[in-house]
């Protein structure tokens, strides 16, 4: 059957809607070539062009293939495959002549719709997919119909189909086991957002601080700890070359200890946004077990096996104080105090002037602190450029900078004072989202601080930024917006949030997004098990399969039952005929051979059912039927329908019981007689 113009047009519209989010992500030529194919078909439909020649079709395919090969050159990534899918999807419109072509487009539509989830799993994307599903359903209703359907009728039918599919969707989502992928799909080469890096040279965090994208969220099981203690640790930087701090590439992997969390420790959920890094930030200090797939390194770093390219959630424990550490070996001590004094001549002379070697480690730290407190340092996001050695310049000339300058300089000072020291980068503070009940850390919450080794105590956190600008830590970054540097800085996020209302709006949005990530995207096996345990504590993970299967079977039976009811009802005109059919259907459950001609009165059914409890039931429902329709008894239609449904239910139960246990049924039947 040839496709009518309206069908072709609606199919094209569907294709455009589904391809739009993908076109956005792909090179422009993909969109152009797909559009060319669809435009061609559209012109044919409008009668503005004769059918396309094979020459044009072959040419189109050649151009598309060549462009694909030139663009990607490799098939190891997922992009060329998605592009191929998009092109094939669009190219079907060149061959869109018959109804079966339309079906192919409709079926492909669902796959194309899923392809966008490779790139975006946000709630917005899901809403868009929902729109796509609704649209695909509507178009397929239209394609399946010979006539043009009125929009209201179309939407009504589509809504009914989707409503029928909804319970199945729910069952599949809630109970279908989350399987590991059957085959590995090359990960989309996602450009990870700028985040922390494993090196720190002065100035790099300055870029970060202007980035207001979400980095991670922490939801505490108990009370949320105060702002000043919320240090999220990511990298430990131990290697210093006088300018740049780097991680220790040779850090040893600690053997995993099965260690239960202490009583006073606080559990929390950490939801990490994809950042392309393979370090798992955690709230200091770590307590108990850390997640599988993550290694704990000797420098207190949690290293993941693969970079985080997708949002991930982890369950961790937090304690307020660090566990007591063992002592450093001499080689370790040597490495952690390694610094070339030649790079920082002014600093070396200042330290010599302080006569540090006569002081205890605690006193040395206090001396350093005093230096920062008395030195009229200024916290600024726009520090002047260093001319010579950045450490010397910062400490003795400019005295203006932000956390990374302070941390970097202080760690250098500590090392020169013969204190083992290292720089830690991560996030600090964060912002409590009341709606979501979690603390969100954005990229501008990135922070750097210093750890100094004290013999007998272990690593002690020293945050030089607090010496100079306690507001940064105690009140969060927002308080700093009063500082001169902030007025000029690219302080986009906060400026956008001028009004309280706007701020609340953004907070609400992120809370919704959080809920979505937490409850929908990260709905995993554990959640499934919790769900089935909620029904009964004895159930476990393997039961989810059974529940899913059972629920689906029940669902299909129910839908098939009502669908058959509907099919029969379509022929019937009056309620009397409907109810008659319903009674007959019930009788068929008891006695499948029972059949009633439309010209036979309903009481004829009684002769077809063997006497027993079932026939008594049937007799009473038929009496009701006759009373309603012939004796004119006043009985509400609702009540009568209810009675019929009850009758059908009883009939089904009788039938099932008979199927389940023929012997039992026979004996009970004999007893009845």
């Amino acid at each position: 059957m040839m496709l009518s113009g309206i069908k072709v047009q609606s199919l094209m519209a569907l294709q455009v809607v589904l391809l739009l989010p993908l076109w956005r992500l792909f090179p422009i030529w993909v969109a152009l070539i797909s559009c060319a194919a669809m435009l061609d078909r559209l012109l044919v439909t409008q009668g503005m062009k004769k059918t396309s020649s094979s020459f044009w079709k072959v040419g189109w395919v050649l151009i598309a293939s060549i462009a694909l090969v030139l663009e990607y050159q490799s098939l190891l990534l997922i992009e060329p495959w998605v592009a191929l899918l998009m092109l094939m999807y669009a190219s079907k419109s060149l061959e869109l002549n018959q109804t079966r072509d339309a079906f192919q487009i409709l079926h492909l539509s669902y796959i194309v719709m899923m392809a966008q989830f490779l790139y975006d799993q946000s709630m917005l994307a899901a809403l868009y997919a929902l729109l796509g599903i609704a649209l695909t359903t509507l178009v397929s209703v239209q394609v399946n119909s010979a006539r043009v359907i009125r929009p209201q009728a179309l939407i009504g039918r589509g809504a009914k189909i989707l409503a029928l599919a909804f319970p199945a969707f729910l069952v599949l989502f809630l109970f279908l086991p989350r399987l590991p992928p059957l085959w590995a799909v090359p990960q989309p080469s996602m450009s990870a957002k700028t985040g922390l890096s494993d090196r720190l040279s002065m100035g790099s965090i300055g870029r970060l601080i202007e980035d207001d994208t979400l980095a991670l969220r922490v939801a505490f099981d108990g009370l949320t700890p105060p702002l000043a203690t919320r240090y999220i640790r990511a990298y430990t930087l131990t290697e210093f070359d006088g300018r740049t701090w780097q991680i220790d590439q040779a850090a040893k992997r600690l053997s995993r200890r099965w260690q239960a969390a202490e009583d006073q420790s606080l559990g929390y959920q950490l939801i990490l946004e994809p950042n392309g890094l393979n370090v798992l930030p955690y709230l200091e200090y770590l307590d108990g077990v850390y997640p599988l797939g993550v290694q704990r390194l000797s420098d207190d770093r949690l290293r993941a096996r693969a970079p985080f390219n997708q949002r991930a959630q982890f369950s961790l424990n937090y304690r307020e104080t660090r566990e007591v550490a063992s002592s450093l070996t001499s080689t370790e001590r040597e490495r952690l105090t390694a610094i070339d004094p030649k790079n920082h001549p002014r600093l070396v002379s200042w330290i010599e002037a302080q006569a540090m070697d006569r002081q205890s480690p605690g006193e040395r730290i206090r001396t350093l602190r005093r230096f920062f407190l008395e030195g009229e340092f200024r916290y600024s996001l726009t520090p002047p450029r260093a001319l010579g050695d950045p450490v010397d310049d910062f400490l003795f000339v400019t005295r203006s900078g932000f956390c990374e300058h302070f941390a970097s300089a202080m760690a250098a000072m500590a090392r020169l004072s013969d204190l083992p020291a290292r720089v830690v980068t991560g996030y600090q503070g964060g912002r409590y989202n009341e709606m979501g009940g979690y603390v969100e850390f954005r990229q501008y919450d990135a922070h750097a601080w210093v750890e100094i080794w004290i013999e007998g105590e272990g690593w002690r956190r020293v945050d030089p930024t607090t010496f100079v600008s306690p507001e940064r830590i105690n009140e969060g970054l927002q308080a700093l917006s009063q500082l001169p540097g902030f007025q000029n800085a690219n302080w986009a996020w906060y400026r956008r949030l001028d009004g309280v209302l706007a701020a609340e709006f953004v907070l609400t949005l992120t809370a919704i997004q959080h809920y979505w990530d937490q409850r929908v995207l990260n709905f995993d096996r554990d959640d499934q098990v919790n769900l089935v345990r909620w029904f009964s504590p004895e159930l476990d993970a393997s039961d989810t399969v059974h529940i899913a299967l059972g629920a689906l079977i029940v669902l299909f039976v129910v839908i098939a039952f009502f669908e058959s009811l509907r099919g029969a009802n379509r022929r019937a005109v009056s309620t009397a005929a409907l109810d008659r059919l319903a009674i007959l259907r019930g009788a068929r459950w008891i006695e499948p051979r029972a059949s009633l001609l439309a010209t036979q009165p309903i009481d004829r059914l009684l002769t077809m059912i063997p006497s027993g409890p079932a026939s008594n039931l049937l007799e009473s429902i038929i009496a009701d039927y006759q009373a309603v329709y012939y004796a004119g008894r006043e009985i509400s239609r609702r009540e009568f329908r209810l009675r019929i449904v009850r009758w059908q239910w009883l009939a089904i139960r009788l039938r099932l019981r008979r199927l389940a246990s023929p012997l039992f049924f026979m004996t009970s039947e004999a007893r009845m007689r």
Binding site: A572, V573, A576, A577, A598
Partner: protein, 305 residues
Amino acid sequence: MPSPIQPVVDQLNDILLGKPEQIWLAVLALLARGHVLIEDLPGMGKTTLAQALSAVLGLAQKRVQFTVDVMPADVLGMNYWDAATQTLVWKNGPVFTEVLLADELNRTTPKTQAALLEAMEERQVTADHVTHRLPEPFFVIATQNPFFQTGTYPLPESQLDRFLVSLSLGYPDSDAEVRLLTEGDRRSRIQQIEAATEPKKVSAFQAEVDQVRVSETLADYVYRLVQHSRTSPQCRLGLSPRGGMALVTASRANAWMEGRDHVLPSDVQRVFVAVASHRLISASHGPRSGVELAEQLLSEVNVVT
């Protein structure tokens, strides 16, 4: 719940063997204030049925044997000159009875047939501007020989319409016939019958029948049956509105006899052939007999739509 008429039916079954359905229909017609047309060969027990019916119900019964020369006055009655009183005196004909057996109605001329049928319909006889009411209840059992016998005047359709039901007794089944042969004529037993009811009660029953409920759903069914008889290609002549009403009346009586106060489709179906078969004329390619045609029509209409 058996109806109060059940003893009558049982007693009749005891006399006329193997004809329960016909007896049922005959009693039904009486209760519905209708008349019965029996189409059958002689000697099938028509007279026995009429006599037994009147005896059981305690009704007066008369019989007219129709021949070609029977005139209307012979049936209805006539005014005659009474020499003693010097007046015209009305003399009731045999029609003035409660149960009239009109035997071989199709042997007489249309004139006489029409006269009787008019009396049946109006339940009164008018002669010389004087109207004489017929007794209550008034019930006619007319018999008709099958058409193929010679010397008959087939009743026209308009006349047949006046009979509520038509039935045929047919040969008795083997058991009944053997009993008939061994026990001798059952008619002699009619004399010993004690009436199971009385005329007054019969009238009361008839009033009750009128109260039987006909629901909209059922009326719709009857309507569709009637409509189908008019539109079916098998039918040359369908049911008249009077035929439809007769169907409802007969169904009411059937429902009442089955002890119900409302009509069910099964009532309609039980009486339909008897009510419709003599009113229908089948098309030339249709079924041969009215009974077959009626059965076919019945099997073509859904109970509810």
